[in-house]
Subunit: 323 residues, 2 copies
């Protein structure tokens, strides 16, 4: 079993799949003839917006929670997250009946905070800086004994996220390419591990918002670049790539494709119109990356992980609602 800081491998993804099977949904793989025609390739969409909690994040959180021994689990888990990971960890902790502490910055979206609360997580507010988050986490760990589950730089989380690609290939058979969104790199690194075992010839592409594209800069330079400030409608993709995630993805030969928000919004509308699935911008970016680089994928069998469906208030408005 992977410890939080070991380098995870394909076997850890298999173990994660078995561990989370009683709790996570096996999500459907969706197709669209119209989108295939538009993209010039065969698209296989893994519907992680239909995962529990509305995002793939539940897979990694659940694997981490159920990797703990009973003695470890007794003291609960803790994380810092302004996004889906906090809610996913709260939900995962509830499946094991243990406490979950989530440190959220003062400026976190009320909708995200409400989701953490709904799933039974205990909220701890802090200043919106990385230092304040980490200090708050350390205080909670010291006071409660709760185990830290980092959103992406954690072997158990990476292995858990890899189960989405594992399920996808189990459904589709080997793929020519897989496109996933990249932020901290948990889903991306987990996907690389899964592919190494079940579809090693698959090329892995990482779709990143063009604004503040630290993963693209890191790959270009050959070392992690930090300190860029993403300003993007993809609210799930604002973290910087983690160190173990970068190492693993570089070794796997993954390739970053950067995407402007305007193209992501156009792809979002296509996903809504054609798949009739309400995915969030951080999911649509993968489709946008394919549509803007048709030569890379022409005639191929391409997997796409629709990572989540938690559309932030303001991204989508109904007739008659204020903007």
């Amino acid at each position: 079993m992977a410890s939080p800081h070991s380098a995870p491998g394909f076997q850890d993804v298999l173990a994660a799949a078995a561990r989370i099977a009683p709790h996570a949904h096996t999500t459907p793989v969706l197709r669209s003839q119209t989108l295939d025609a538009l993209a010039g390739c065969q698209l296989h969409f893994k519907g992680e917006h239909l995962q529990r909690g509305g995002a793939f994040k539940f897979r990694g959180a659940c694997n981490a929670v159920w990797s703990l021994t009973d003695a470890e689990a007794a003291d609960g888990v803790v994380t810092h997250s302004s996004g889906n990971h906090g809610a996913a960890l709260a939900l995962a902790a509830r499946t094991r009946g243990i406490a979950c502490h989530v440190v959220v910055p003062d400026n976190a979206s009320p909708a995200k905070v409400a989701a953490i609360d709904t799933y039974g997580g205990t909220l701890h507010r802090c200043q919106p800086t990385q230092a304040a988050r980490e200090a708050a986490c350390a205080r909670i760990q010291a006071a409660t004994g709760a185990r830290l589950v980092h959103p992406y730089a954690d072997a158990r989380v990476i292995a858990g996220q890899g189960t989405a690609a594992l399920e996808l290939v189990a459904n589709t058979g080997p793929l020519d390419a897989l496109v996933v969104p990249i932020s901290g790199g948990g889903l991306a690194a987990g996907s690389a591990l899964a592919l190494s075992g079940v579809s090693p010839a698959t090329r892995l592409f990482l779709a990143e918002p063009a604004s503040g594209a630290d993963a693209a800069a890191s790959f270009a330079r050959g070392e992690r670049v930090t300190g860029l400030s993403p300003d993007t409608i993809c609210d799930g993709l604002r973290a910087e790539i983690g160190a173990p995630n970068f190492d693993l993805l570089r070794a796997a030969g993954a390739q970053v494709l950067t995407v402007d928000d305007a193209d992501t919004l156009a792809a979002l509308r296509l996903a809504w119109q054609r798949l009739k699935q309400l995915v969030e911008p951080s999911s649509a970016i993968a489709l946008a990356a394919i549509l803007q680089q048709p030569a890379l994928f022409a005639g191929q069998r391409v997997g796409v992980i629709l990572s989540g469906g938690n559309v932030a208030p303001g991204v989508l408005r109904l007739a008659g609602e204020a903007g």
Copy 2:
């Protein structure tokens, strides 16, 4: 086989199911624990927004097209429709390789007209009055020999629409109640026929926009009331109930529930948030009807037909798009 003007029965629904099987999708049945908890009952959503053409309409159109003899089919089909039926009939005609003429009023939505064109239908413009539509249809019938396929007051169309409820009950087993939207009454009457054969104890509820609720008025008076003018965001529900549809639904003991647009919009947002399915307002009205009458459904097994997913431009806007 049902002629256009005969009274269809359960056997016609079974025949329609066999007839359209090579062409139509078997759509999934969706569940949500959150929506069940909110509604206080067990909801089984039939996903007709994932049907070909994005609505249940393809079922009836396809049954009508494939009910024709080869000699009849050779001259094509014709209809008048400002909505999904025109596109569905064009798509159905294409599955048989025959011509499809669609009379559309000058004020029809460009998006709907584009869909008819995309599916290969031949467009015929007319003044936006019932008389002009019927005259245009008659001219085309006389000139081409094309067979009329009315959007809802047609036995073949009614039987075809009934296959959605048939599939739903095949998936769920007997239901305590079924809620469907009502407009012309093709889906509603077809559902009544299907239930009579496979789940006769199921109570059938018809969800109708409160503005211009001619079906509710017709049921209250015991005879068809016409001439009301619906003003509703449910753009698929602006037709008046057809004569055969009304007779069949009255005999079946169906009950109308009227719903304000504000409640439909709230249900639409719930369907998007919880099911992650992009349905149109005319679908969400059925969920809204259940949520506003919890006592009618408490603790029961309730079917809901999500009739379509063709969201009109302007109902939904993305961040950065003009209103």
